[in-house]
Symmetry: C2
Subunit: 206 residues, 2 copies
């Protein structure tokens, strides 16, 4: 196993993981070959074999990998066996969908609570997770040692929430508001713009 | 202007567009230099200058670009001035958020309606957009000539909806269900897995 993998391999590992995870339970109990994965995903099989060998030593000629072990190996490499608490700011439809979605757990993320400034939403509970007032963000995140936040507030409020998260000790921000956020050094922001993703998909040039 | 731009430039163009779009209205009326954009985004300014020159001829030494013209030039190149109708399948919180979000318009996408199989949701209207029964997907998309679809149904239903969309003439699918979808040739699927995005952000290796 080689820890110095390329960024291309790194980008493909979650694709393999996600594909394996999506297999029916009975197929997860068996073996799977790099060739079969390559075919299912439309990738080059030599490349897939190299990628998998870089994170798992379980591959055997003609037999392939034990599917569940390969999933654990990839997951462990990507840190999916960690347990990180995450907060979500903005309890509109999008933010509520985040709290209701249970798929984060497989990746080692616990969405622990939501924040909003609307008094009708504050104090409620979504999927067993409390909605707190945004003014409690800083004290809550600091006392709980949370360093991952998701922003689902309206565009106009996103920068302020980003600033508050940074002050609260959040180091990684996933931003769904369609604005460019500037964060202080040491805080990584990933701007997820669904309109742009759609544009790149449907109108790809070159 | 050069139509044969690299995929790296292509990936950065939406970032510039999004940044310019996020500027306050008064700044949109003025000029902006490649250097200022590079600084704001933490990119190399030579690279930004080259990227912008590949899609806009409006840059002038010491003055920079007229911000609004630069936005139009990038937007035109990326096809944001097109008008494409889009349908959304799955009217849970996530799908409803898609119908309520008005930010798609700036990118030339009109979310025209939602689909669901739940009779309590069918017949309702979200943000002025009707919710139809999923059985009407094929006839509606064919008669309206729609070729872009968003999937926000539960994992277990996603492949079936993907197959139905393909039959309905949809050629581009943005999938938010956390399963790998296989689509026939000629149909491009972009699998958006928010858990994975979060994992790559918060646990990036290498």
């Amino acid at each position: 196993m080689n820890k110095n993998i390329t960024s291309q391999t790194l980008a493909r590992l979650p694709v393999y993981f996600n594909y394996l995870r999506s297999l029916p339970e009975e197929r997860k109990k068996g073996n799977i070959s790099a060739t079969a994965i390559a075919e299912a995903l439309g990738l080059n099989d030599v490349q897939v074999r190299k990628d998998l060998a870089s994170v798992s030593s379980g591959g055997r000629p003609k037999v392939g990998y034990i599917t569940s072990e390969l999933m654990s190996d990839i997951g462990r490499f990507l840190g999916f066996e960690n347990h990180d608490s995450v907060v979500v700011a903005g309890m509109g439809n999008f933010g509520r969908a985040m709290l209701e979605y249970n798929g984060f757990e497989a990746y080692g993320f616990d969405i622990v609570c939501g924040f909003d400034c609307n008094s009708e939403r504050v104090g409620s509970s979504i999927n067993g997770k409390p909605v707190r007032h945004i003014d409690e963000l800083e004290s809550f995140c600091k006392s709980s040692g949370i360093h991952i936040g998701i922003i689902t507030v309206p565009e106009a409020a996103a920068q302020e929430v980003c600033d508050r998260m940074a002050k609260a000790g959040i180091r990684f921000i996933l931003n769904f508001a369609a604005v460019y956020l500037s964060a202080p050094k040491g805080v990584a922001v990933h701007n997820e713009n669904i309109s742009l993703t759609l544009a790149m998909l449907a109108r790809r040039k070159g």
